[in-house]
C-alpha cells in the first residue's frame, strides 16, 4: 500500500469531515430542539459563502490589507448567515409551530425555503461558478509533507476543533445552554419553568447558522469556487453525518461527520470517484433503515 496516498486520503477525509461537522451541528441542534429537519440549512451555508465572497471582493478592491479582509469578510458571513437563520425560522417555521402543524408540514415548508433561497441567490447573483479567493494564508508547518496535509486543511481542522469546544462549553456550562437542553427534553415543561422557549429556538437557529457559515467560507476558500447549488449536496451529506452520529447529539454529529468524511475520501480514492454522491446517499439510506437512532442517539419508545 502506498502510504503517502493513504495519508493524503486520510487528511482529505479529515477536512471533509470537519466541514460536514460544522454544517451537521446546525442540523443536529435544531432537530434536537424542535424535531425538524431544517432542509434549508445547506442554503444558509451557501449564503454564508456568498456573503463572504462578496464582502471580501469589495474590500480587496478597496485596497484593504488581506488580514483585515479575512476578518471582516468572515465576520460578515457569520453575521449574515445568522440573520438568515433567524429570519427563516420566523417566516417558515414559527407560524407552523404556533399552529401546532404536523411535522410533515414543517418539512414541506423547509423544502420550499430551500428551493426559494437557492433561486434567490441564482437570480440575484449568478448561476455560474464564482472563483473564491484563497482567504486562508499559506504557511509552512511540516515540510516536506505539506502536499499531504496542506496549511489550509490544517486551519480548517483547527477551526472546527475550536468551534466544537466553544459549542460544547456553550451548551454544558452557560445558562442559555442549560435552557437549550431543557427545551429539547420537554418544551412544555421548560416553558412552565420560565424558559422563553421561542428565544431558545431562535438562539439555536442563530448559532447553527453561524457554524454553517464558518464551514461555508472555509470550504469555499479551500476549493476555490462557489455556486448557488453548493448547499444542497453539502446539506444532505451533513444530514447523513448528523443521523449517523445520532441526530440531536452534538458529539454524535462530529463523530458521524468524521466517519462520513473518511469513508467518502477512501471510497473515492480507492474505488470510484464517479459514484461519490451515490455512495453518500447509499450511506444515508442504509443508516436510516438499519439504525435510525445512529451511533450515539437514543432509540425512542412510542407512548400509547
Amino acid at each position: 500500500m502506498d502510504f503517502d496516498y493513504f495519508s493524503y486520503l486520510f487528511f482529505g477525509g479529515l477536512t471533509r469531515g470537519s466541514i460536514y461537522a460544522l454544517i451537521a451541528l446546525g442540523y443536529t441542534m435544531v432537530y434536537g430542539i424542535i424535531q425538524l429537519i431544517n432542509f434549508a440549512h445547506g442554503e444558509i451555508y451557501m449564503i454564508g459563502a456568498f456573503t463572504g465572497l462578496i464582502i471580501a471582493s469589495v474590500l480587496t478592491m478597496m485596497g484593504l490589507p488581506s488580514l483585515a479582509v479575512i476578518i471582516i469578510a468572515a465576520a460578515a458571513a457569520i453575521i449574515y448567515a445568522s440573520a438568515y437563520g433567524f429570519t427563516i425560522e420566523k417566516i417558515a417555521y414559527k407560524p407552523l409551530r404556533d399552529a401546532n402543524a404536523p411535522r410533515l408540514s414543517a418539512l414541506i415548508s423547509a423544502i420550499g425555503m430551500s428551493l426559494f433561497l437557492q433561486n434567490y441567490v441564482l437570480l440575484a447573483q449568478t448561476s455560474d461558478f464564482l472563483p473564491f479567493p484563497s482567504l486562508i494564508p499559506d504557511f509552512e508547518f511540516w515540510e516536506p509533507y505539506s502536499h499531504i496535509w496542506t496549511s489550509a486543511e490544517l486551519v480548517i481542522f483547527i477551526t472546527t476543533v475550536i468551534v466544537m469546544i466553544l459549542l460544547t462549553f456553550l451548551i454544558k456550562f452557560t445558562k442559555i445552554g442549560k435552557a437549550m437542553r431543557a427545551t429539547s427534553q420537554d418544551k412544555t415543561m421548560a416553558s412552565l419553568l420560565g424558559i422563553n422557549v421561542n428565544r431558545v429556538i431562535t438562539f439555536t437557529f442563530v448559532v447553527g447558522s453561524a457554524t454553517a457559515a464558518i464551514g461555508g467560507i472555509l470550504i469555499a476558500s479551500h476549493i476555490g469556487q462557489i455556486n448557488f447549488y453548493m448547499g444542497f449536496i453539502a446539506g444532505i451529506k451533513a444530514f447523513v453525518a448528523a443521523v449517523l452520529g445520532g441526530i440531536g447529539s452534538i458529539p454524535g454529529a462530529v463523530i458521524g461527520a468524521l466517519i462520513l468524511g473518511w469513508t467518502e475520501s477512501f471510497f473515492t480514492g480507492y474505488i470510484s470517484s464517479d459514484y461519490e454522491d451515490v455512495f453518500a446517499f447509499l450511506f444515508l439510506v442504509g443508516i436510516l433503515i438499519l439504525r435510525p437512532s445512529g451511533i450515539l442517539g437514543k432509540s425512542e419508545t412510542q407512548k400509547v
Binding site: 438568515y84 417558515a92 411535522r103 408540514s105 414541506i108 415548508s109 420550499g112 446517499f281
Partner: protein
C-alpha cells in the same frame, strides 16, 4: 393594534430585509474584470415590497387565527361549495370535458404540446396524491419512478423495438416493482425520515443513470424515441401530437376513475385511517407495512406510466429531467391544490405548469415561486386551495 404601531412594525421589518438582502441583492462582483456593480435600486424595491408584504402577512396570520377559533364544519370555501353542489359541478365538468376534447383543434400544436406537459403533471400529481394525500407518506423521490417509466420505454424500444402500447403497462409495472422493492425496507420509518430516504433513493437512481454510460448512455441521454403510431400507421408530426394528447387525456380520466374507486374502498379507508392514527389502525387489524406499500407501489406505477408518455412526448430523455427538484414541483402541485382532493390536485397542477408557460415574463422566477408557494401554503393554508372535504360514507337503511 394602532395604525401607527402597524406602520412602525412594518418599517422595522422592511429595514431588516434591506439589511438582510444587502450583500446578495445589491452588490454583484465581477471577479474577472474586478468591478463591483452596486444595484441600489434593488434595495429600494426590497424595502417597499417587504413593507407591504409584512402588513399583509400579519393581517393573514391574524385572520388565520380567528378562523382557527371558529367551528371547523359548515365553513366551506367557495371552491368547496362549487364541488359539492351537483347542479353547478356537473355542468362545469361537462364544459371542461368539451373544452378538453376540442382543445387540439382550436389551438396550435405548440399549445397542445404545452397542454400535454401539463396533463403529464396532472397524472403525476394524482399519482403522488395517492401516496401523500391518501396514505400520508411524504415521498420526495417520486420522480425516480417517473424516470423508471421513461427509461423503460426508451431502452426497451431501443434494444428490442418495444412499441408504445406495450411499454405503457410495462413501464408502469416496472415502476411498481421498483416502488415495492424500495418501499419495503423504508416504509416502517417515521414520516420525516421516510421523506429523506425516498429523496436519497431518487437521487441514487438519477446518479446511476448519469454515470452508468453502458446502460443509460449517461448525461447525453437517449434520442429518437418514437411517438405512438395509430393502428400501425406512423402519423404526421401534428397528427401524432394530437393522438398523444388524447392518450394522456384518456389516462387522466382513467386515473381519476381509479382514485375515486380506491378512495371509497376498504383499502382507501385503511389509508385514511392510517394517516389519522397508526397505532389505532394496527389495533384494528390493519397491516401497516402492507397498506403503506400498496399506496407507495400504486403511486409509483402511475409515475411509471406518466414516464412512458413523457418519453414519447419529448422523444428524448436524459437524467437532467429527473432531479429532486422535479419531485418538489410535483409535491408543490399536490400541496397547492389540496392534498387528498382530486379536483384540487388537477387545478394545482394546471395552475403551476400552465401559468409560467403563458406568463413568459415570470418563467425565470418559476422555481423561486414554487419555493414560496410551498412555504406560504404551509403557513396559511395547509389544506390547499381546495381544502379536501372528504366524501364520507352516508348510511342508508336498507
Amino acid at each position: 393594534m394602532t395604525a401607527t404601531g402597524e406602520i412602525k412594525k412594518s418599517v422595522l421589518v422592511s429595514l431588516w430585509f434591506m439589511f438582510l438582502t444587502f450583500p446578495i441583492m445589491v452588490i454583484r462582483v465581477n471577479t474577472v474584470q474586478d468591478v463591483v456593480e452596486w444595484r441600489w435600486l434593488n434595495m429600494a424595491y426590497i424595502g417597499i415590497g417587504t413593507f407591504f408584504i409584512s402588513m399583509l402577512w400579519r393581517y393573514m396570520i391574524r385572520r388565520k387565527e380567528r378562523e382557527g377559533k371558529k367551528e371547523k364544519t359548515d365553513n366551506l370555501s367557495f371552491a368547496q361549495k362549487i364541488i359539492l353542489d351537483k347542479k353547478i359541478f356537473i355542468p362545469l365538468v361537462a364544459l371542461t370535458g368539451l373544452f378538453i376534447i376540442v382543445f387540439p383543434h382550436m389551438f396550435s400544436m405548440y399549445q397542445t404540446n404545452i397542454m400535454i406537459s401539463a396533463l403529464i403533471y396532472v397524472m403525476l400529481g394524482l399519482g403522488l396524491n395517492i401516496v401523500i394525500g391518501l396514505a400520508g407518506l411524504l415521498d420526495l423521490g417520486y420522480v425516480a419512478f417517473f424516470a423508471v417509466g421513461a427509461y423503460s420505454y426508451a431502452l426497451l424500444n431501443l434494444h428490442y423495438g418495444l412499441v408504445f402500447w406495450l411499454a405503457l403497462p410495462l413501464g408502469g409495472f416496472l415502476a411498481l416493482i421498483f416502488g415495492v422493492i424500495l418501499g419495503y425496507p423504508v416504509l416502517r420509518l417515521r414520516g420525516d425520515y421516510l421523506a429523506i430516504v425516498t429523496l436519497g433513493f431518487g437521487e441514487i437512481i438519477r446518479l446511476v443513470l448519469e454515470n452508468w454510460n453502458e446502460f443509460s448512455f449517461g448525461p447525453s441521454g437517449i434520442p429518437n424515441i418514437p411517438k405512438p403510431p395509430l393502428f400501425g400507421v406512423d402519423l404526421s408530426l401534428s397528427g401524432s401530437i394530437i393522438y398523444l394528447y388524447y392518450i394522456i387525456v384518456g389516462l387522466v380520466i382513467f386515473t381519476i376513475f381509479v382514485i375515486n374507486r380506491l378512495e371509497n374502498s376498504r383499502i382507501g379507508r385503511a389509508w385514511i385511517a392510517l394517516k389519522d392514527d397508526e397505532i389505532a389502525c394496527q389495533a384494528m387489524g390493519i397491516d401497516k407495512a402492507r397498506t403503506k406499500l400498496r399506496a407507495f407501489g400504486l403511486g409509483a406505477m402511475w409515475a411509471g406510466m406518466a414516464g412512458v408518455i413523457f418519453a414519447a412526448k419529448t422523444t428524448f430523455i436524459n437524467p437532467a429531467s429527473f432531479t429532486i427538484w422535479e419531485s418538489v414541483i410535483i409535491l408543490c402541485t399536490v400541496v397547492l391544490g389540496g392534498m387528498g382532493s382530486i379536483t384540487g390536485v388537477i387545478s394545482g397542477a394546471l395552475l403551476l405548469i400552465l401559468l409560467p408557460e403563458y406568463l413568459r415574463a415570470f418563467s425565470e422566477f418559476r422555481m423561486i415561486i414554487f419555493g414560496a408557494v410551498l412555504v406560504l401554503m404551509m403557513v396559511f393554508r395547509p389544506g390547499g386551495i381546495i381544502n379536501n372535504v372528504r366524501k364520507t360514507y352516508k348510511f342508508q337503511k336498507t
